[in-house]
């Protein structure tokens, strides 16, 4: 039983209001990822859960205890830091045993737990080394090992993979996920990398400027973003945004920045209230495909290819269409040349619309 509850959580520094009214219920054994651009308050939130930052107002519950006034050591949590924070003057073994020693575990128990953790992470032969003799990936493993030996109620991760190179990051990401499945412990994970967020999280919390923007399962966030920020933040390359106004001309049409497409009937009822007003049309890069003869003309766009980025499994095309630029993700079989004009068909049902003023999804 180790759920984490945050109720009306606020953090104010002298002038900065870093975290604003955060309400979040992290269920037992759940892996929740806080994601957002730097300065969005995600790390501060995590540090408040850890007890490293004072809470300005609100309440944090871990398990069934309110922990607002508990020092970090009494919260039964473990944390992995971005720079690993290994104690440089101790061996790997002592690093991992430190928390157990502080809690006065008997020696054989400490030995057993450290051995078990080392085995899980494949670092048995490193136990006698000092941190400076380890590579980045090994340090990362030791840092994780130090967290798991304690069998805490909650794991906290503060951008733990950011200091690793790209290949190792992907590998450690998979290992972390496997580890979580094995240990079944509640985990809160902070990252600025939306790929990590999507791949690791049972649920993902998107934050910006101290506010929670949306909480949901990764694919939900992707397909039904609550607002323009989430839509643009989740997914790479980012969603294309086109400012359009809606007009009625034999069905609802979206027109703006030199483009004109029809609104799918599925969206038409919801959008009818916005007739004559400005809205933002969002198109995922993969929802733009090279049109074939059979595509209806009202759902196509003519675009000039600016840059071709072949990635092997797919090709990214940077396009100029009307007065705006778009990115399309197309099949590797497509042979597009720079400056070539191509007709693209969009998937009308998958288009997203946002209120231009409030940026909320319509």
């Amino acid at each position: 039983m180790a759920q984490v509850m945050m109720k009306d959580l606020n953090k104010k520094y002298d002038e900065v209001h870093a975290v604003k009214d955060v309400n979040l219920h992290i269920r037992d054994k759940e892996f929740v990822v806080l994601v957002g651009p730097s300065g969005c308050g995600k790390s501060t939130t995590l540090r408040m859960v850890a007890g490293l930052e004072e809470i300005t107002s609100g309440e944090i519950t871990i398990g069934d205890r309110i922990v607002n006034d508990l020092p970090p050591k009494d919260r039964d949590i473990a944390m992995v830091f971005q720079n690993y924070a290994l104690y440089p003057h101790m061996t790997v073994y002592d690093n991992m045993a430190f928390g157990l020693k502080m809690r006065k575990f008997p020696k054989p128990e400490i030995q057993k737990r450290v051995q078990d953790a080392a085995e899980i992470l494949g670092i048995q032969e490193l136990l006698k080394r000092k941190p400076r003799q380890l590579s980045g990936g090994q340090r990362q493993r030791v840092a994780v090992g130090r967290a798991i030996v304690r069998h805490p109620q909650v794991f906290l991760f503060d951008e733990p993979l950011s200091n690793l190179d790209a290949k190792l990051r992907v590998q450690m990401r998979v290992e972390l996920k496997r580890l979580h499945d094995r240990l079944e412990t509640t985990a809160v994970y902070v990252t600025h990398d939306q790929v990590e967020a999507m791949t690791l999280g049972d649920r993902v919390v998107v934050m910006k400027d101290g506010w929670i923007q949306q909480v949901g399962e990764p694919l939900d966030l992707y397909s039904r973003p609550a607002n323009k920020f989430v839509a643009g933040f989740i997914g790479s390359p980012a969603m294309n945004f086109i400012d359009v106004s809606l007009s009625d001309a034999g069905g609802l049409w979206a027109e703006g920045q030199g483009l004109r497409v029809k609104v799918a009937p599925a969206h038409a009822t919801r959008l009818s209230a916005y007739k004559g007003q400005k809205v933002t049309l969002g198109l995922r890069p993969e929802d733009l495909r090279v049109a074939s003869g059979g595509d209806p003309a009202e759902y196509t766009i003519d675009a000039v290819v600016d840059v071709v980025e072949p990635l092997g499994s797919e090709i990214l095309l940077d396009l100029r269409a009307g007065q705006t630029t778009l990115v399309a993700r197309v099949e590797p079989a497509v042979r597009a040349k720079v400056h070539e004009t191509i007709k693209f068909a969009l998937v009308p049902d998958r288009a997203r619309f946002f209120d231009t003023k409030t940026e909320l999804a319509i």
Partner: protein, 283 residues
Amino acid sequence: MVIEKRWKTWVFFYIPLAVFVVGTLFPFYWMLITAIRPDAELYRSWRAATNTPFWTLQPTLEHFRDLMAKTTFPRWLWNTFFIAVASTLISLFCGLLAGYALARLRFPMAGTLGTSIFVTYLVPPTLLFIPLADIIRNFQLGNTPWALILTYPTFLIPFCTWLLMGYFKTIPKELEECARIDGATRFGAMTRIIFPIAVPGILSAGIFAFTLSWNEFIYALVFLSSPERKTVPVGVVSELIRGDIYFWGQLMAGALLGSIPVALVYSFFVEYYVTGLTGSVKG
């Protein structure tokens, strides 16, 4: 290209370095040579045909013997050592806690406090000894080692605090945050994690404080009066210069013996000392 560079290295590196080394070491050499020169050679006219100012052919230890037998030099040495160690320990203890607090804890006026501690270090001892003399008299500490043990920290603590504060700031704060999550109190994290990592910084602060108090002159001159209570720098100068008579041999022997402990301390810890001042923590 290589040849052109060679004369440049000589002109801009080796020759200046040689001048610097000779300039630095010559006083020590002079001290040594004077200390072992017999009196007959010492007081010979510079114009005498047999004068050999830069070396001696009859080295002698008589000045050292006289220094030990005819003055209370061993006693001075012990006084200096005791006072230097005690005031260093006091200053290190205060400096460690103050430096840690200024580097890590968030409290109102922390910045101002840090600066004002530094400013007190800049007040010259030649001004400060006047009010301090008054305080020493009021506490009836005059002519005791405590007069110095308690006044040296007035300049040692600011110094240690600043050096250690700078060092603590180079240690990632995540280390102690992690320790606190691992089960340590703030104090535990400080003593078990931060202090062991800060050993180079602590050592260099200690060495510096020790040297400063070992060599200190003005407070020792003012606050101590009886010959057997004096420290080496004051004792040598006040007891071996009588009126206009300089006992050069014994003076230099005393100076030599007085500088040996400091040289030893430095050479033992020079590695730590350099890392301490440049503040590099290997992760």
